[in-house]
Symmetry: C2
């Protein structure tokens, strides 16, 4: 067992999440099998465990998109420079981080091509050709692809990767009303995917003009809070109004026979959520994966001696086979490692449930189930083990969500004054300061400059509470309730 | 109806498939809504109808991959130049068509990055780190992504696009035997996807050394024959042996405790198949989509006058709703176009079945169904319309496959002599000349030079027929039976 012991020491997470969050996150990334570094700086490999999470969430969102009438498309990954420049604010937002293709083989290209940082420009050029009359609208499309944004500062795995995977929804409507009505529909799809698959709560709201997407009229987001007290932006939705349709000539003949520019939206959900998921749920033992997105949901570990090996292995095999019909089960029948090493390893990898099965368990007609989220152990009768596993997996998911929601609630503080706001932001635990805001760029900038916090968004839920509130910065009447936090 | 008429004329296919195949294909691409040109030369947009075909086949293949134990991963799209150069034959095969990223924002990069033409090099660098012992094997991974190969000659939509979508399977085994056993499993997955989704028959066989993949020990392919008599390569499978594992240091400790290089395979299925599907099934009226991959499988066209509009529309709506429960149905209730224009339009777009419903049909308790593949019309009783639609869609799919298989068979000619071989290749209808081959590079090159035909592959099925055969080129004993054809 010498090798096993050495590997244990090498593989285990040594940093504490509560003490050194960033070192802990780095070790989680490096010591689990979720993603891997490659020799492309800022470019990650998604290993089977990591990609499984992504494809599971992706399919859930995709199915919901299809139900509400959105169809998938695919556009080229390289965008000619002249196209990228068509919408001024848009290109200014993206140009500094564009990766440029300048050569093909040995030939220098006549025009540089951008590896897509986002696809508005290449898509809308086509939309202008496809759309002629109101009968062609709405055009509701989506693509699943990867985009490249060359972050120069500190690429952080999953959170600030130079390449990330996402969905980019691009829809076109005949009226502003229809376009605006899409917002709640899309945010609901995203919220349900976050909750039901990644066990992630979030705060939905409107971004400020300063923080909105380059080229949008208004942006909306779902924001998360991670355990170090910093906020991180989740999926977003942008109302583009007629800004892009005017830049790209997306006109249609309306029912009155007149030419009109169309109304557009865009929206996205990215692999950044996988980083958020890790930060929020995982612990000092390693990853904690929500059951719906865990590639292995239940691992069966047989506990045997030389004397009873045959019998225990046989029962363990039968059990794993039975379980495999209702959950994603894996039998760890390797003989090279001790049960203890295996427990440790599967905890590191984040498998939601472990089943221990030994001679005494078999005789008693039961097994021992151990929850990854709470480390609780319980006996489960073999006769109804499938039902019990399903129930336990559901409980684990519910618990992960509840725990995260509680953390979010407990760390969102009402801040009436600037002193209270600063106390939250500058406090040891960070968190969100929810405060009245007059809506001025000056007050927003002052907070940023003096505390490092930005307005993550203006939560929909909180806006009804503006009456009588004052701006926490300047003391004038509050137009909005805004969430201030340091943000990734 | 003036507008409708004009659009009809503009939209219709005017070239004949049997007379001017390449002009016909160009018109199919330009006048349907399957794909669209963009301002990136050689880069296509997959519109909803086109992307639906791809995602449907993709899901079918993906499900089968998962069943046989292959898991998905994702690797960065940019590959550092030094990595691409690690396997000599590989880089020589790809370097001339690589798109190079040289700048990020305004900064010149220290090392050029290739937009992946294929991912061996970036993946195997990681595999070398992930694999330690025989317990880590087999490692069977796959990724769905897009790759870039800068074709300078004539990019042809779908067939020779500079960017295309594909699966790239990359698997690693402890023994040569296990690696080789994977071949038939993967080719069976591809053959079933081709048959059951795209209604495409193909010929599976081994490629010659001259035609094999850059860096592989041996390549295998499924080859199609399109109506102009040219062959086109379908999905392929490559046995890499230890060539890449030696270049990238993919070693493992075997059961005897010794270090050994692993055995690898790669395999791919690409959006090129969509071009093949169009060429083989479509006709002078437009696209013909196999029912399993048609976004709209049944279009309902109500036929009404001002007097009976309400009643007919109501019945048509009810029918479309009923059908929608078992097939992908669409009600074309637009009042701006005549039924004739609609028939024409849906034929152009390739919808497999059209249902016409008018007042007399309703009274008679039936509708008229029109097949896209044969233009046959038949009455279908309303009481069992769901069953009948399912049956008809199945028949259409079966007919498309049968028709294509018959064409392939009738245009594969046994060629005993060089004269017979040349007669096939240089004949008006082209096709495949199946001939004995001694296995020499000289004979292979001579045919290429003198007739323009290459060896598409050496069909598995035909190899038992070598006994007593002579090489059609040099007259020596035949080692193989090879298929010679002009090829896209």
């Amino acid at each position: 067992m010498t090798m096993a012991k050495e590997e244990t020491e090498k593989k285990g997470i040594t940093a504490k999440k509560s003490e050194n969050f960033s070192e802990w996150y780095t070790q989680i990334i490096e010591k689990t099998e979720f993603v891997g570094y490659t020799s492309v700086s800022g470019g990650l490999a998604f290993r089977p465990d990591g990609y499984f999470v992504w494809e599971t969430v992706q399919r859930a969102i995709d199915a919901q998109f299809k139900e509400i009438g959105i169809t998938n498309v695919y556009f080229p990954m390289l965008i000619p420079e002249h196209l990228l420049e068509k919408e001024k604010e848009h290109v200014e937002g993206f140009a500094p981080e564009v990766a440029w293709v300048t050569h093909a083989g040995k030939t220098k290209l006549d025009e540089r091509l951008a590896v897509r940082p986002t696809s508005e420009t290449i898509m809308y050029e086509s939309f202008a050709k496809w759309i002629r009359s109101w009968r062609d609208l709405p055009l509701r499309t989506n693509q699943w692809n990867s985009v490249m944004r060359w972050e120069f500062k500190h690429p952080t795995p999953l959170l600030r990767s130079r390449e990330f995977l996402w969905n980019e929804g691009h829809t076109v409507f005949a009226t502003r009303e229809e376009a605006e009505a899409e917002r709640d529909q899309i945010l609901a799809v995203y919220e349900s995917a976050l909750k039901n698959y990644l066990a992630l709560p979030g705060i939905a709201g409107k971004k400020t003009d300063k923080e909105k997407f380059a080229g949008a009229e208004a942006s909306y987001s779902i924001e998360h809070l991670v355990p170090d007290g910093w906020a991180i932006q989740g999926p977003d939705f942008h109302s583009d109004g007629q800004k892009f349709s005017k830049a790209f000539g997306i006109e249609f003949i309306n029912k009155k026979g007149e030419k009109e520019f169309a109304y557009q939206n865009t929206f996205a959900f990215s692999t950044r959520e996988l980083g958020t998921m890790i930060m929020i749920h995982s612990d000092d033992k390693g990853l904690v994966l929500p059951p719906p997105v865990a590639r292995v949901q239940v691992v069966v570990v047989p506990i045997f001696t030389d004397a009873n090996k045959e019998q225990v292995m046989k029962s363990a095999r039968e059990l794993a086979k039975r379980l495999g019909k209702t959950v994603r089960a894996y039998l760890d029948d390797s003989e090279a490692y001790s049960p203890g090493w295996k427990f440790h390893n599967w905890e590191l990898l984040g498998v939601p449930l472990r089943i221990e099965i030994g001679e005494r368990d078999i005789k008693a007609g039961k097994v021992v189930a151990v929850r990854r989220d709470t480390s609780e152990k319980c006996d489960v009768g073999l006769e109804a083990v499938e039902n019990e596993m399903g129930k336990l997996l559901g409980e684990i998911h519910g618990n992960l969500y509840k725990r995260a929601a509680k953390f979010l609630e407990e760390n969102t503080h009402d801040a009436k004054t600037y002193a209270e706001l600063k106390k939250v932001i500058e406090g040891k635990h960070g968190g969100i300061a929810q405060a009245g805001w007059c809506g001025s760029v000056e007050c927003e900038a002052k907070v940023k400059e003096e505390t490092g916090a930005k307005i993550t968004n203006m939560p929909f839920d909180a806006q009804k509470k503006t009456t009588g509130r004052r701006c926490a910065v300047c003391g004038k009447e509050a137009k909005f309730i805004a969430n201030f936090a340091k943000s990734y």
